[in-house]
């Protein structure tokens, strides 16, 4: 190979490196702005609500109280929770409802009286769907998701 050919190859290599550099910059900026936009979007979005229920004669009836669902919703007796439950059977930090990877998860936070889904006790995090009834101590909530 002559010197000219090697120099040409090196020029092409340097030019390609510059193009890759610009591409990487554009990609990093695009990803950053997209994730920022997603996060802003996620905060504005309405996901659904938790409807407080009351058991009358074996059937569940809404009490009229509804709580908007947030990507991370905490339930418990303490007023610092997203949904504060005024109920003696609820622990101060009772349970968490969270959106992860497109699924809604329910987790018991080692509460004294336990958390239930459709009457079954929750021992480890579980996926919940539209219409499930969550029991926190003596209080019940129905999950309603907006699609």
């Amino acid at each position: 190979m002559t010197t000219e050919v090697i120099l040409l190859i090196l020029r092409v290599l340097a030019g390609l490196a510059l193009l890759v550099l610009l591409g990487l910059l554009c990609f990093a900026l695009w990803r950053d702005y997209r994730s920022a936009a997603n996060e802003v979007e996620a905060r504005r979005r309405v996901y659904g609500q938790l409807i407080r229920l009351q058991k009358i004669d074996g059937t569940y009836t809404p009490t009229g109280e509804t709580f908007p669902l947030l990507p991370l919703t905490s339930l418990g007796r303490s007023p610092t929770n997203t949904i504060a439950i005024n109920n003696d059977f609820a622990s101060s930090e009772h349970a968490l409802v969270a959106l992860r990877n497109g699924q809604w998860w329910l987790e018991d936070r080692q509460s004294r009286n336990g958390t239930t889904v459709n009457g079954i006790a929750v021992s480890q995090p579980i996926i919940i769907t539209d219409g499930d009834i969550i029991g926190i101590g003596a209080a019940q909530f129905r999950l309603e998701l907006d699609h």
Binding site: T3, I6, L7, L8, L10, R11, L13, A14, G15, A17, L18, L19, V20, L21, L22, L24, L25, A28, L29, R31, S35, A36, E39, V40, R43, L72, L96, A98, R100, N101, W105, E107, R109, Q124, P125
Partner: protein, 447 residues
């Protein structure tokens, strides 16, 4: 707990993505630099070890920088550090290529300055209190800056030792230092902290719209105008007009950002125009610069030789450039400092010019982005705006000047140009931006 663990995993994945971006950028830059170093050696026909030492020093700086920043500032903006290193490395190889004509080994010196600058950047970036110090000791800093400027007027010299050249440097033996460079940071920090203190007044909270001008009363503006005027007077006295106009524009923009009062921009434009006309009447240098900007061709081999050669360099560069070591950028006088952009245009062409502008633009927008994330903290927000503007406006001034879009002002192209004090200052600005970006909360408000 499980759900919190998932959230933590997501945050760690984001962090890993950021680290990947940083490393990928640095590796690409290394390939670019290595290809150019090899091409330069081949086209010169001699494999001097110096060029490879520069690449090695750059690599060590990159690795040490990433390693230490990962330890000290894991939540920093991942683009800032690679961008600065890419630009400095590119500058060094360009200076190395221009060396045929330059007597003391400029690229060697620039490499030593790179090592010093990266060290200074790491120190400043790991000081947890550095932003508070800038705010608390603003008057002390300003007095030090002005004292340095006065001592330059009294004792100043010029490294090239030509008679009549502006004497903007303080010499210590063979090392020269330009005090107007650190003064830029000090002045921006001062303006930001003062305006942050007067923020409610500047924002005119509780004032009717028609009484808006009242908020800019002399009581609030007086101290700012005094300090800023003093600095500009000193700089004009020294004929350092490029830095003077830079500080003038940064001041007006910061005032606009702090007050959100649009007519300020109009007033500012008129003021710049008046200052320009006054300078045209007062200074022979300015008159000459404006005259050769309007029409360089009658003086093409005289006073306008530099700018005309620069335009030729751009023209001969074409789209892909002549290739390193294969153009003739040494026809431009003092090409290694103010006109390095023309040398890059000749040897790397339009592609190189776009890459240069892309790097600088990304750096500035990242700085401005970290300013927008400083919610409810006017000082850090204004500081981020001011520091980004320093780099952005200085680049615009010199790139526009070299391209004959605006009259030439003698400032350096940040990170690229030869100049130790300029490089050191820019890396300290970078350190402050890194600190600001890692202290800003993420868009969701999580810390």
């Amino acid at each position: 707990m499980f759900i919190e663990q998932l959230a933590l995993d997501q945050r760690q994945a984001a962090l890993a993505r950021q680290r990947w971006t940083e490393r990928a950028l640095l590796i690409t830059a290394w390939v670019f630099l290595a290809a150019n170093t090899l091409a330069l050696s081949i086209s010169r026909g001699d494999f001097r070890l110096e060029a490879w030492w520069h690449l090695l020093a750059w690599t060590v700086c990159a690795i040490a920088g990433v390693w230490l920043l990962d330890k000290r500032l894991p939540r920093r903006d991942p683009l800032l550090f690679p961008l600065a290193l890419i630009m400095t490395g590119w500058g060094i190889i360009a200076i190395e290529r221009l060396e045929e004509r330059l007597e003391p080994i400029f690229a060697d010196r620039q490499t030593v300055w790179l090592i010093i600058s990266v060290g200074a950047m790491l120190i400043v970036a790991s000081l947890p209190q550095v932003l508070r110090w800038l705010r608390v000791y603003r008057y002390t800093l300003l007095v030090i800056g002005l004292a340095l400027l006065v001592s330059t007027i009294l004792l100043g010299s010029n490294p090239s030792a030509q008679p009549g050249a502006p004497e903007l440097w303080l010499g210590f033996g063979t090392v020269f230092f330009q005090p107007s460079e650190p003064l830029k940071i000090i002045l921006v920090a001062f303006l930001a902290s003062y305006m942050a203190e007067q923020y409610p007044a500047l924002r005119a909270e509780g004032l009717e719209a028609e009484h808006r001008l009242l908020s800019l009363s002399p009581r609030i503006l007086g101290p700012i105008l005094l300090m800023w005027g003093l600095s500009v007077v000193f700089l004009v006295w020294q004929r350092d007009l490029g830095t003077a106009i830079l500080i003038f524009v940064v001041f007006l923009t910061l005032l606009y950002v702090a007050s959100g009062y649009t007519p300020l921009l109009l007033i500012g434009a008129v003021l710049v125009l008046i200052a320009g006309i006054a300078a045209y009447q007062l200074f022979a240098v300015v008159q000459l610069r404006v005259d050769i900007w309007i029409n360089p061709w009658p003086e093409a081999s005289g006073d306008a030789y530099q700018i005309v050669q620069s335009l030729f360099a751009f023209a001969s560069g074409g789209v892909f450039g002549q290739g390193i070591g294969q153009g003739a950028p040494n026809n431009i006088p003092v090409v290694h400092s103010d006109f390095i952009f023309a040398a890059i245009a000749e040897e790397w062409g339009l592609l190189g010019v776009i890459a240069v502008i892309g790097c600088l633009m990304t750096l500035v927008t990242r700085g401005l982005r970290s300013a927008t994330l400083q919610r409810g903290r006017p000082f850090t927000a204004l500081l981020a705006v001011g520091l980004s503007l320093l780099i952005g406006l200085q680049s615009l001034l010199i790139m526009g000047g070299v391209l004959k879009l605006i009259p030439l002002t003698g400032v350096t192209l940040p990170f690229f140009s030869y100049g130790g004090s300029s490089l050191l200052t820019n890396f300290v600005i970078l350190a402050l931006l890194l600190r600001l970006s890692s202290e800003s909360p993420s868009p969701t408000g999580e810390r």
